[in-house]
Symmetry: C2
Subunit: 443 residues, 2 copies
Amino acid sequence: MWARGAGFAPFVAKPGLPMGFDMRRAIARKRDGGVLSAGDWHSILQAHQTGEADDAQLAALLMAAFLRGLDTQETAGLTRAMIESGETLEAPAPNCVDKHSSGGVADTASLIVVPIVAACGIPVAKLSGRALGHTGGTLDKLEAIEGVRTDLAPERFAAQVREVGCAIAAQSARLVPADKKMYALRDRTSTVQSLGLVAASIVSKKIAAGAPAIVYDVKVGGGAFFNKLDDARALAQTLVDLSVSFGRRAVAIVTDMNEPLGASIGTGLEALAAREFLDGTRRDARLRALCQKLGIALLAAGGYAGDAGEAFERALAGGAAYERFERMLAAQGMRPGALEKLVPHGSSTQACAERTGFVAAIDASALGLLARDAIEAHGSNAGIVVHKRIGDAVRSGEALATVYGASDAARAAGAFAVGDAPPPERPLVYFETASVRSTLETR
Amino acid sequence: MWARGAGFAPFVAKPGLPMGFDMRRAIARKRDGGVLSAGDWHSILQAHQTGEADDAQLAALLMAAFLRGLDTQETAGLTRAMIESGETLEAPAPNCVDKHSSGGVADTASLIVVPIVAACGIPVAKLSGRALGHTGGTLDKLEAIEGVRTDLAPERFAAQVREVGCAIAAQSARLVPADKKMYALRDRTSTVQSLGLVAASIVSKKIAAGAPAIVYDVKVGGGAFFNKLDDARALAQTLVDLSVSFGRRAVAIVTDMNEPLGASIGTGLEALAAREFLDGTRRDARLRALCQKLGIALLAAGGYAGDAGEAFERALAGGAAYERFERMLAAQGMRPGALEKLVPHGSSTQACAERTGFVAAIDASALGLLARDAIEAHGSNAGIVVHKRIGDAVRSGEALATVYGASDAARAAGAFAVGDAPPPERPLVYFETASVRSTLETR
């Protein structure tokens, strides 16, 4: 697997458009509820790449796909065609793992789990994305640490995974170039929220990047892109089915995003939270529970032989995970003393409760957007630290959150709803696809 | 009505886009089955005109409109917005009429009916289109007559209607400019065949051109754009409802297009057929029946006081219609002797029956495309004259059609199916909306 090196390798030859391909006919087929083959999708994306089909034609087709839906087989065909639009990578190691989150607020799990899993001996080659809307992006959090770079060349990325055991980098623009174009088009034509299109976008990038095993964390709730459990569950299953159809190991969990996952929201604050989690200073219970779940899934996906739960706790308690965190950052260019600079300074205001009671709901989206605005205005040290979580008792006038770098405490307080009684408990994990092991067994 | 003259008049003021208009939200609303208001459609088309919304966004919206459908009220809103995209005309006379055909093969009715109705004293201000696909365009037929121009300025068009009683011209590009852009987009994104979009396209142009009364001829069958009677009937009713909602008188009939309407197919051949019909040389029975139906409807729409059927026959028999035909053409620039030059010369071949029997079916589309190809290669005198119609007895080796200017007689013969027995008779008129008079009464 490793024999051909970590460089870019062509996935398939790209012949010219097959004779008789007709974009209008393809659009009409999807419009009328038909199914387009992998070859059709290949021709469609190729025609778009060469300019033979224009944005308007692709947009009409995507709207038809949105409204008519794509079944699993058609989604796989589209995914393959998207992969074929660019170059592909070999995995840095045959047992390395990758993790994907569908995006949430205060979701610092990647920065925490990646070094833990690496400390247990399973290499992690993680490709991450940028912040989108109200959600944070792992790359932005890493770059809040002075000196840290995420634009690693494929060779350097692979070498770091082998030498340090883990790396978190941006995906090369040479992988799945069709995805970037399609996403921009879907964004402006209101065709983003389609199960098939979302799944093809996510999985094509993971497959092209070479990950042999992938753990998907699909968020559901007010702070996520999916609000309905059924939609999230369908996406989770589709992500796994698609990945397995490309010969990869995969598992997906659907987790709660009805309040910020951790206490800290913001690029620098979340990097700091990861550090404090790993060195034992502060470990938010909900964030810890999710990290444990994801860590064990990643270890299983990487073929960890022993008790993954025990290994996870050992790496965390013994300091091996923290040490791996620092080594990873150092390998990616972190300046000395950069982690200390993450501690927020400058002005801060308290968002306080207007009444006594129990926190009934938190608008994670609103807090995510507030943190984004504060960072845009005041830099990566700005953001929000949440002091009260859903179900917590609160007295009138007590601090619900601290807002760093912005004076808009009222906006932050408005994201909290306080009621008379604590709401019923919500699970952290709603759904989980068949374990990696049984996924492998059924193949 | 005539007071403000025949020049261009602004229809409504065009304010800037309303605050808070969001193209993505508009697309999402239609995508989810919602209804867009006239104001929404106005904003959408304006945003597209100014470049604030791009082709891809409009294409996605049109696909959503195609799949979700537009009810009558929403179609009226879109029609209004399309009219507001350009300038509008006053009618040349308060009682003048216009006619629209949805497009067929060998449909020479406009060239015949317009002078007949004018000869009966009802002015006809007809704006026509070009050939589309396998169907002929009235403008192209007129321009096959040496010297005839169809690009009349609005003032000249109006003056001719008043002086000669009729004119047939191309629609100014300043009327409903949104339609041209939308049609080009729909054509390449497979969103043409939508009831609401088709109706808005047709009616917006008629309303913008100022026609006080309109007769719509909706073709149905293999040689038409609509193949299903239900679709044609729905379009007919929508065209009338829309027109009436804009304060116009209107009637629509659904007529058969399962074989070429007349015997001649081709620009010059159809102009010749119109001449021969009017001067009495040759009158195809099916074409005559439709012209009578349309002529009477136009006379009624124009408020003709007497017996419209009698007036029609009188104008035809007495030569008044033919004289009006020549005056109209002369007013539009016809050179002396131009009508004589329409007689086909040069090579011709016979398409012959391979067996004895009865003509069971004729592929009008195929003949339309063959005539188009012949004209492209050999000029406007080329085309096809059909000798056998559906139901006619034919002997093996007997001529089914003569093809002028092309040697592809086999292709023409292949468009005829010969069976053992004559097929059941088909009506010429399948459906008719409430008469103009009762349409007026219910307003």
